[in-house]
């Protein structure tokens, strides 16, 4: 086994947890997020599909370890990665009466009161722990859902990969699975309803079924919990009613296929994605490594490329391999299947390569060790390049008036196309007209360090 390099993570540092196909790596940086130290590999040889930090009641890191020989276990560390253990019982187990055995843990999420954690697993099920991961129980309400028999595995397996506990109502949780779609409970997990109205299932005879969609990731901001954003297997969507219905927001993206999605820590209208060419070619379009960001909740999307390769970059970013930290300006991070990890210390305006040559990256999560509001963020390289980078811009961009005439043109183009009855042309016209103002506005916003 390889030697594991220890990493001492200190207060006032950013901890970046990177789960790969061959083990867990930890990185630590100053709040400028421009000097990274590496630790690992921990659990070498084992794929890591999910990681989390829970600092309520003491530091605890979690990693789901998918050992190819000895099965999946949840490992935890109370000393910031120096040592890892199973805890008291460690293993999430299906009860005997289900006749199922755990294949993989896809998501670990701290929630609500101190000590509560949720785990999303394969085969699609939700587990809950009320003692910081020491003991786990199956959430029977979802497990016994009448739709279960019709949920089908996607290419990655039949997995429950997204868990979004409501920030103030412990009884409300949104989950997403591939395939199956989005489900929501409002009674603490006893009953669940499919919430997929408006979300397309390209691969089904009925394109808008009640459930069965292949949802890849859903995000929401704690300050506006009824607004959700969704990256689908083909499709980008937004809901403003907690998932009751969804609207298409794929405006000006090179492809609406992709896996990952992250929401800005301080702005519920700012969302990040990495579009991929197609389900038959799951790589970045045109060989360009581009993160896309919307500043207005999906009306426009802009490419973020400063510091990212724009030639021969046929990369794949998996569903949990994009994340943000809690600092201001926000850090944005992603990892690729080719083993590269990039970090942006300024909300995506510029990017630095943290590491190249890791095993395939499957999950990244970033945590500031301390109170983010008190972090002392130095003016680093990116900040120097863009002097206003640390200045926070208002939630809504002020570029709207200048876009008005272009928007009008877009609407006219839509009208014209609609008359012809060409639905496809309508969307293309919208995108074409929307592209230029979005680009102009993007330049201004970038200059403000958004």
């Amino acid at each position: 086994m390889p030697a594991t390099r220890e990493l001492r993570v200190r207060q006032d540092q950013v901890l970046l947890m990177v789960g790969t196909a061959k083990g867990l790596f930890l990185f630590a940086s100053n709040p400028g997020r421009d000097q990274w130290e590496l630790g690992g590999p921990f659990m070498p040889g084992s794929p890591i599909y999910s990681v989390a930090r829970d600092a309520r009641g003491g530091e605890r890191l979690f990693a789901s370890v998918d050992n190819p020989f000895f099965g999946t276990t949840l490992r935890m560390s109370d000393d910031l990665g120096k040592t890892w253990s199973d805890g008291t019982t460690g293993v999430i187990k299906f009860p005997e009466d289900t006749g199922l055995s755990l294949k993989r843990i896809w998501q670990i999420v701290p929630a609500g009161k101190n000590g509560t954690l949720y785990a999303g697993v394969e085969p699609s099920s939700l587990f809950v722990s009320h003692d910081r991961g020491e003991h786990w129980e199956l959430v029977r309400g979802l497990h016994e859902h009448p739709h279960r028999a019709q949920w089908q595995p996607g290419a990655g397996g039949m997995c429950l990969h997204t868990i979004l506990p409501h920030p103030t109502n412990a009884d409300e949780i949104v989950v997403a699975m591939s395939t199956g779609g989005v489900y929501r409970t409002r009674d603490g997990g006893a009953t669940w309803e499919a919430r997929n109205v408006g979300v397309r299932a390209e691969f089904m005879p009925d394109k808008y079924p009640e459930f069965g969609q292949c949802v890849h990731k859903v995000v929401r901001h704690p300050a506006r919990p009824d607004t959700l954003f969704l990256q689908n297997h083909w499709g980008l969507y937004r809901s403003d009613n907690g998932g009751d219905s969804w609207q298409d927001i794929a405006n000006g993206v090179p492809s609406d296929f992709g896996f990952c999605m992250a929401i800005h820590p301080h702005d519920p209208e700012v969302v990040y994605i990495v579009p991929l060419e197609a389900d038959m070619y799951r790589c970045t379009p045109e060989g360009k490594m581009r993160v896309y960001r919307t500043l207005d909740g999906g009306k426009h999307w802009e490419a973020l490329t400063n510091g990212l390769p724009q030639k021969n970059a046929h990369e794949t970013v998996l569903r949990d391999a994009l994340c943000v930290d809690a600092l201001n300006p926000a850090g944005v991070y992603f990892g690729t299947r080719s083993g590269k990890v990039y970090a942006s210390p300024d909300g995506g305006a510029s990017w630095n390569l943290v590491v190249d040559g890791l095993p395939a990256v499957q999950v990244v999560r970033a945590y500031y060790m301390g109170d983010p509001a008190k972090a002392r963020i130095p003016r680093g390289r990116a900040a120097k390049a863009k002097p206003a980078a640390t200045k926070r811009a208002p939630v809504r961009a002020k570029a709207a008036p200048k876009q008005a005439s272009k928007k009008k043109a877009a609407k006219q183009a839509v009208k014209k196309s609609a008359k012809k009855g060409a639905k496809k042309a309508t969307k293309q016209a919208m995108n074409k007209a929307a592209k230029k103002p979005a680009k102009k506005a993007a330049k201004k916003r970038v200059a403000r360090g958004r």
Partner: protein, 93 residues
């Protein structure tokens, strides 16, 4: 009245580095040995068997030099004083 279980290197962190676990039990079957192993060290047992009681696909169990795949699976007899080895299969990438 004892049966010894050999622990593979990747699982020795669960046995405080011990290569051999000695189980104080009479002769029985591999199933009995794993049940006793579950009492002595549940974390090791859980890495050998799934929740449904099947040996994980990439784990091999030997009684002496014989793989239990060819001697009756979990019902294979384990005589008093025998050695049972847990061995990760040669597979993966």
């Amino acid at each position: 009245m004892a049966i010894r279980v050999r622990i593979p290197a990747p699982l020795r962190e669960l046995t405080q580095g011990r290569v051999w676990l000695t189980l104080d039990m009479p002769a029985g079957t591999v199933d009995d040995v794993l049940a006793e192993l579950g009492r002595a060290c549940p974390a090791v047992r859980d890495r050998v068997l799934t929740e449904t009681g099947e040996v994980r696909p990439h784990v091999q169990l030997f009684v002496g030099d014989e793989s239990i795949r060819f001697t009756g699976g979990l019902a294979t007899a384990v005589p008093d004083g025998a050695e049972v080895s847990i061995i990760p299969a040669v597979s993966g990438g």
